[in-house]
């Protein structure tokens, strides 16, 4: 019995050693190299693919002719099975081969090629995004057209926006100013544009009530746009004489210097109402908490998820994400603008149904919905 066990153990050890030898020494870890143009890119790159096993490093070599001198351009792990060669000239033949350093020798694989990189006109992996974008455009145009024809569209009450009149009225009664902070990002940020829409409405109200408003800015472009917005609002309200240049000020481009300056204004001048509407980062809580400490009524609005809990905690009303973008339509009550909100709701319903269907289909073991929705 003991002899039989020893024989079996010996056989197993010999086989294991033999296997290790064949894997480590005789086997080239990567075979069947293929070189093809990277699909759906802007050109200048070729994708390499191979069949490989193990964690050995293979060297990737390139030449411009099959018999030419191959230079090493990079390395990869054999089992990864792919590599992308970048910064190439389009319409030029390239040949590739893999090399594997085995001890003092370097084993060379077969040559693959020729392959040429070329520039493409469409990112095929974004077909789903194209369909959704086109659908969004069609729905917006369609509902706007319906609204122009006089169809009545319903939009639910948004308490944060309904409270604007009350907030301006409070400042008027108290004889104190309103501080409007349009976020800290530039005009290229859509939240800032949405904020300017609300600023226009607030400025019209302050013009009518004769309340003082101050708009401190961090970005010079937003400063110029905000000044035009407030000026125009005062003109539309029929009070151009009440507009003062110092209502819209530029402070600094530095995030925390801006926060320091605005909080100092809050503490010194004690505004009755603060609007914090736009894109915010770490300064959101500094501003909102300082405003809270001076007892100002605060209306905040942002689509920056990390800042929302801070605003919800420290402000009286908060416009959450999409409510911020719906503000201009809600405040102006213009049917044309409401049409685009309706289109947005229809797309949201489509997404909800698709996500629900995707969950059910995935539960049955099919990835079809996930694959259709996947993009990069």
């Amino acid at each position: 019995m003991r002899t039989s066990c020893l024989v079996i153990i010996s056989i197993v050890l010999v086989l294991a050693a033999g296997g290790a030898w064949s894997q480590g020494m005789s086997g080239f870890p990567a075979t069947e190299l293929r070189a093809v143009d990277t699909p759906s890119d802007g050109g200048g790159s070729i994708d390499l693919e191979w069949e490989g096993e193990g964690l050995q490093f293979v060297l990737i070599m390139r030449a411009t002719s099959p018999g030419g001198e191959f230079e090493t351009i990079g390395d990869a792990i054999a089992s990864d099975g792919s590599y992308t060669d970048m910064r190439l000239d389009d319409q030029t033949d390239y040949y590739y081969r893999l090399a594997y350093p085995a001890g003092e020798d370097t084993l060379l694989g077969a040559v693959a090629g020729p392959a040429q990189s070329k520039t493409n006109w469409f990112r095929s992996y974004r077909k789903n995004a194209l369909v959704l974008t086109a659908l969004m455009f069609i729905l917006v145009i369609s509902y706007v057209t319906q609204a122009r024809k006089g169809k009545r569209l319903f939009i639910r009450r948004i308490s944060g926006l309904s409270a604007i009149d009350e907030a301006v009225g409070r400042a008027t009664e108290m004889g104190r100013k309103i501080l409007y902070i349009p976020g800290i990002l530039s005009l290229s940020e859509i939240q800032t544009i949405a904020s300017l829409s609300i600023l226009q409405h607030v400025s019209k109200l302050t013009a009518v009530y004769g309340t003082d408003i101050e708009v401190p800015n961090k970005d010079p472009l937003v400063f110029s746009a905000a000044r035009e917005t407030v000026k125009q609002a005062y003109m539309e309200a029929g009070r151009p004489d009440q507009f003062k240049e110092e209502m819209v000020t530029y402070l600094t481009y530095d995030q925390f210097a801006y926060a320091a300056s605005v909080t100092a204004k809050m503490v010194r001048e004690r505004p009755a109402t603060n609007f914090l509407i736009g894109s915010f980062f770490a300064e959101s809580l500094i501003l909102a908490e300082t405003g809270q400490s001076i007892g100002a009524i605060q209306i905040a609005g942002t689509a920056d998820i990390p800042q929302l809990p801070f605003f919800v905690t420290a402000c009286d009303y908060t416009l959450l994400g999409e409510e911020l973008y719906a503000a201009s339509a809600y405040l102006s009550k213009e049917p044309v603008l409401l049409g685009s909100i309706k289109a947005q709701d229809v797309v949201k319903a489509i997404i909800m149904v698709t996500v629900g269907a995707g969950i059910v289909i995935l539960a049955f073991g099919s990835n079809i919905v996930r694959d259709v929705l996947f993009t990069r």
Binding site: R126, V140, L196, S197, D254, S328, L337
Partner: protein
């Protein structure tokens, strides 16, 4: 005409990045990258407007001896000093004095403001986590579980039993709520962008009407 040209420009400049998102051709992507550069150039032109406004408003404050006028003096002095040494440094790098002021004044002041955040978080958390009603109590309990599940002392107290519950709260209910807001906000942003591109929304031009 005062409105038409900006609207046409907005349409072209707004549609181009959407076009470039789907078309990878080098000609298209190069122009798209240039648009980003133009934005920086436009912002650079707007910056002097801001600086002039800043200087003028603070000089007025000093003249009128408004509340806190002394801070305006400090601001003007700091601005002039930093600008002077910044210009003296040329395009080769910072002037030594500029560097010194940045490291010993600007940087610590920024860090101080950022550090204040800890105190603001504490006061906001105190207000948010008061168990005034059922919802606030649920929030309080969830917050305690998440905090204890994520810090070493929490592991020590509970023997690591709260860690999986904390992870579940963060990755399931919290992530679901966040994604709901993200999807809504993204669609809202897309809808707003379409309104701006198509000229339906014009408030950024100073008016909502033609």
């Amino acid at each position: 005409m005062r409105r038409t040209i900006p609207l046409i420009l907005t349409f072209c400049v707004g549609m181009y990045p959407i076009f470039a998102f789907f078309v990878p051709h080098r000609v298209v992507t190069n122009i798209n990258q240039n648009l980003d550069t133009y934005l920086v150039i436009v912002a650079a032109f707007a910056l002097p407007l801001g600086v002039v406004n800043l200087v003028m408003s603070n000089i007025n404050k000093i003249k009128k001896k408004d509340k806190g006028w002394f801070y305006s003096v400090v601001l003007i002095a700091g601005l002039c000093l930093m600008a002077f040494y910044g210009i003296m440094g040329g395009d080769q790098g910072f002037h030594a004095h500029f560097q010194w002021m940045f490291e010993n004044a600007v940087s610590p002041l920024q860090a101080t403001m950022f550090s204040l955040l800890a105190f603001y978080v504490a006061s906001a958390a105190y207000r948010a986590f008061r168990a005034r009603n059922v919802e606030a109590t649920v929030l309080l309990i969830a917050a305690i579980v998440v905090m204890l599940g994520r810090i070493p002392i929490g592991d020590m107290i509970t023997g690591g039993r709260l860690t999986p519950i904390s992870e579940w709260l963060m990755t399931k209910p919290n992530a679901a709520a966040q994604r709901g807001i993200i999807i809504g906000a993204a669609l809202g942003a897309a809808s707003m962008q379409i309104r701006v591109i198509l000229g339906i929304e014009q408030t950024y031009l100073g008016s909502g009407k033609d």
